[in-house]
């Protein structure tokens, strides 16, 4: 499996799990859970593509973790910018787990997945 594809699949899985954890926030979230999971999954897929592509191009665990953390944080920030019906933002609750998901993606795509074969002249 290529690294970008691994990133997409893992990003989607972690996105679904990350979205579902919102259920623990309280019964009022249950009504919005489908939207949250879909949004979280799309976020995970986008992060997976970017992080997986970086892992495809560069073989460096520190770089993978840095990119994973930054992308996870950035995408989570974009999501957190949207307030709930009461106008309240959940920056910390969304951005910290989002960063952690990005770090996992960064680590996994650097450690696993097929690296492109080296081309010789």
């Amino acid at each position: 499996m290529s690294k970008p594809l691994l990133g997409v699949i893992l990003g989607a899985i972690l996105g679904v799990i990350d979205g579902l954890t919102a259920l623990f926030a309280g019964p009022e979230v249950a009504a919005q859970i489908v939207g949250i999971v879909i949004g979280s999954t799309i976020k995970g897929i986008i992060a997976g593509v970017i992080i997986g592509f970086v892992a495809h191009k560069y073989n460096s665990l520190p770089l993978g973790l840095l990119v994973g953390g930054v992308v996870g944080l950035g995408l989570a920030y974009l999501v957190a910018m949207f307030p709930d019906e009461t106008g309240k933002h959940y920056y910390v609750e969304i951005m910290i787990p989002g960063t952690l998901v990005g770090l996992i993606l960064g680590y996994a795509t650097q450690k696993f997945g097929r690296r492109p074969a080296r081309q010789t002249a």
Binding site: T21, F24, I96, P97, L100, A108
Partner: protein, 348 residues
């Protein structure tokens, strides 16, 4: 009259014992090592202006089989072009009839010296893999080393491993038999080191079949045993059978009386101990079937994967998995803790 010091005496003896290299392109610099059959010198190759190691038969051939054995050794090593096997440059006979050959001069330490200074076990195991690679290559060419031990392995200045001293090596393919061959250069007389009843090898490191003088039982798994003894030394700093009396060591080797590595060094992982003990099993059929199989288990251990020599318990498997994927486990735990923290925070 003043007495000569020990050092002066040693130099004088070296000078007297030094072979006459007249007619060759070599000039002796100093003696490096003395073996039972030959002496190794540091020599300078005048033609190519480089230092070489020169192995010279200790005594002129006087009807013994030493000269053919040394020629055979040179020819066997010459067949083995591998980065971890010292290359032979030249072979010849001195004016007094002594056979010699020149080879690459390796600057470094023998493995027994190097292990004492190399504290990282994983680095030692990676070095062991390179030694396995050289022996597996020799096997692929039909050559058995039969005297693998730490002092026969040099570790170069850049950490490269070099398998040395193929003096009692045998070429299995020369005879087409399953056991080590009769020396092709020894005329019609059979190679004595492959005859039944002759004990070859080094006490402390020799396999039970070698200790028993059972030449027919000697095959590639004898080298697996030899590699196992090298691994044992890397793990414990001692040979598997350590006894000052050779006869006792041989007897213990025959009976397979080996102290498990963890009894000497409790830091040795159970998995590594199992790999080592499988390599030095008493019966050849209980050992790894090939050097590659042994090498594969060490690679799997280094990669945090299960090995063929040991069946793990479920909690050991879980522990190994957690150890291997520490980062993911830690991040996942942090994620769970963070989520739990937010849950509590909102509930307040």
């Amino acid at each position: 009259m003043s007495n000569l010091s020990d050092d002066q005496m040693r130099r004088l003896r070296d000078l007297v014992d030094a072979p006459d290299l007249t007619g060759t392109r070599y000039r002796i610099e100093r003696r490096i090592a003395v073996g039972g059959m030959a002496t190794v010198y540091l020599a300078h190759d005048e033609s190519l202006d480089r230092n070489v190691a020169l192995k010279v038969l200790s005594l002129p051939d006087s009807g013994t089989d030493l000269a053919p054995r040394m020629l055979r050794e040179a020819r066997i090593v010459a067949q083995l072009e591998h980065p971890a096997i010292v290359p032979i440059h030249d072979v010849g006979t001195l004016s007094d009839g002594r056979v010699f050959y020149s080879m690459k001069f390796v600057q470094g330490q023998t493995l027994d010296q190097q292990v004492a200074s190399q504290s990282n076990l994983n680095d030692r195991l990676r070095l062991f893999l390179r030694i396995c690679d050289a022996v597996a290559f020799a096997h692929s060419r039909g050559v058995l080393h039969r005297d693998l031990k730490p002092s026969n392995i040099m570790v170069g200045a850049f950490g490269e491993a070099l398998v040395m001293d193929w003096g009692i090596a045998a070429n299995v393919r020369e005879s087409g038999e399953a056991r080590p061959a009769v020396a092709s250069t020894a005329g019609s007389s059979p190679d004595p080191v492959t005859q039944d009843g002759v004990v070859i090898g080094t006490p402390g490191y020799m396999s039970p079949e070698q200790a028993a003088g059972s030449a027919k039982a000697v095959d590639h798994r004898t080298d697996v045993y030899g590699l196992g003894t090298v691994l044992y030394f890397m793990l414990t700093g001692r040979p598997p059978v350590s006894d000052s009396a050779a006869a006792v060591a041989i007897d213990r080797a025959i009976r397979g009386e080996i102290t498990p590595p963890r009894s000497i060094n409790s830091d040795v992982h159970r998995t590594l101990e199992a790999v080592c003990l499988k390599a030095i099993a008493l019966r050849t059929e209980d050992r790894y079937d090939t050097v590659d199989a042994l090498s594969r288990d060490i690679s799997l251990y280094l990669d945090g994967e299960p090995v063929s020599a040991r069946v793990e318990r479920p909690w050991e498997r879980a522990g190994r998995w957690i150890n291997k994927y520490q980062f993911i486990v830690i991040i996942a735990l942090v994620y769970i803790i963070v989520r739990f923290f937010f849950l509590l925070w909102r509930g307040l």
